[in-house]
């Protein structure tokens, strides 16, 4: 009866070629999917981002995040959705012609800070002709009214361009 101990003098050789094959394929696959995007950002949990054919990559972390139930500005909750209407609660926008006052104040502060950073030596504000853009991460199930309120608020705070975060469609 054969046993392990009987052929102790024989050299055991491990065939590592299949393992090398698997490693090679894995490396090839990982190198293909390796991302050289300037910014790496994970989609907020519980939020579904729409799919787009855009080729532009995300270049900054989203400032405004609209989950299924609440609006966040840099991880700070600024407004909540009314589940009955699918819109913000009336108190959030009733005194500001449809804009969201809390978000406006935060965006205004951010815009002023950005301007100060751009003009260190007291240059006039009019010199800055490029409008500021705001990156937003919004759940795809929301209605346009939500997007419009956020855009209106940002416009009032001095942001005229918007970068809407999407998932790139695979070619």
């Amino acid at each position: 009866m054969a046993s392990v101990g009987q052929n102790a003098e024989e050299a055991l050789s491990l065939n590592i070629m299949p393992m090398l094959d698997i490693f090679s394929i894995l490396i090839l696959f990982l190198l293909m999917s390796f991302s050289t995007d300037p910014v790496s950002h994970d989609i907020t949990s519980g939020l579904e981002v729409p799919i787009s054919v855009t080729l532009r990559s995300l270049d900054e972390i989203p400032t405004v995040t609209m989950t299924k139930s609440e609006l966040r500005f840099s991880d700070m909750k600024v407004a909540e959705l009314d589940p009955a209407t699918g819109d913000f609660t009336y108190a959030d926008y009733q005194k500001s012609q449809g804009a969201l006052m809390v978000l406006y104040e935060e965006l205004k502060k951010m815009n002023e800070a950005n301007k100060k950073r751009k003009q260190p030596s007291g240059e006039s504000e009019e010199d800055d002709s490029t409008p500021d853009a705001l990156t937003m991460e919004i759940d795809k199930s929301h209605k346009y009214i939500i997007l419009r309120r956020i855009m209106l608020t940002a416009q009032q705070a001095g942001f005229f361009g918007f970068k809407l975060m999407v998932i790139k469609e695979n070619e």
């Binding site: 590592i16 393992m19 090398l20 490693f23 090679s24 894995l26 490396i27 990982l30 190198l31 999917s33 390796f34 991302s35 995007d37 790496s40 950002h41 989609i43 981002v49 729409p50 799919i51 787009s52 054919v53 855009t54 080729l55 532009r56 990559s57 995300l58 270049d59 926008y93 012609q97 449809g98 490029t130 409008p131 853009a133 990156t135 919004i138 759940d139 795809k140 199930s141 929301h142 209605k143 346009y144 009214i145 939500i146 997007l147 419009r148 309120r149 855009m151 209106l152 940002a154 416009q155 005229f160 361009g161 918007f162 970068k163 809407l164 975060m165 999407v166 998932i167 790139k168 695979n170």
Partner: protein, 190 residues
């Protein structure tokens, strides 16, 4: 032992040649681990849109040249594309499409026709009803902004000098690089 002797001994060796692959496997393992940690399986991108804003720039006193404009108005069921001139005479033309995949595709083809006829107009205003879902807005922006692989090339490349649109558009890949969300400032919020 000198190098010459060692080489001579190696030349005289007749036994089996054994290649030590262990360092090779070590390198592969490390590379795999590094790549697995840094792998991004979902590619995140951005779509750029703008909102109108008031400017205090002094307008030239000359009589303004006639400008060609495109307005796309969308509600839950229809897409309406209106082309017109300002100032009057307006010479307005309107075409309607269904708010579905087929309608968006037909609208895209119509916009290619318009862009081919008016290559210098690279901006389009989008008016979206408040009940339209954000997902559909993105699909619509895709159909307006980008050319498909099978689309015919546009006769003139985008002449935009604006930094953001220059970055966002590779020549002949975009249809209308600048999209203005037209009704953001309207006051029908209640």
């Amino acid at each position: 032992m000198t190098r010459k002797r060692r080489f001579k001994k190696l030349q005289e060796y007749q036994g089996p040649i054994d290649l030590n692959v262990m360092p090779f496997i070590d390198v592969f393992s490390l590379l795999t681990t590094f790549l697995l940690f840094s792998a991004v399986f979902i590619q995140i991108g951005i779509l750029e849109v703008q909102v109108p804003f008031l400017s205090n720039k002094v307008t030239p006193e000359d009589k303004p040249a006639r400008t060609f404009k495109i307005h796309v108005t969308v509600d839950e069921e229809t897409i309406e594309v209106e082309t017109f001139y300002t100032p009057d005479p307006r010479n307005s033309k309107t075409k309607k499409f269904g708010m579905n995949k087929r309608g968006m595709s037909r609208m895209h083809d119509y916009l290619i026709e318009i862009r081919s006829d008016h290559p210098k107009t690279d901006i389009l205003s989008l008016f979206v009803d408040k009940e339209v879902t954000y997902d559909n807005v993105i699909k619509l922006v895709d159909a307006i902004k980008f050319l498909n692989k099978n689309d015919p090339p546009l006769p003139v490349a985008n002449e935009s000098s604006d930094e953001s649109s220059r970055l966002s558009s590779t020549p002949n890949l975009t249809l209308y690089p600048k999209i203005l969300m037209g009704n953001v400032l309207f006051s029908d919020y209640d």
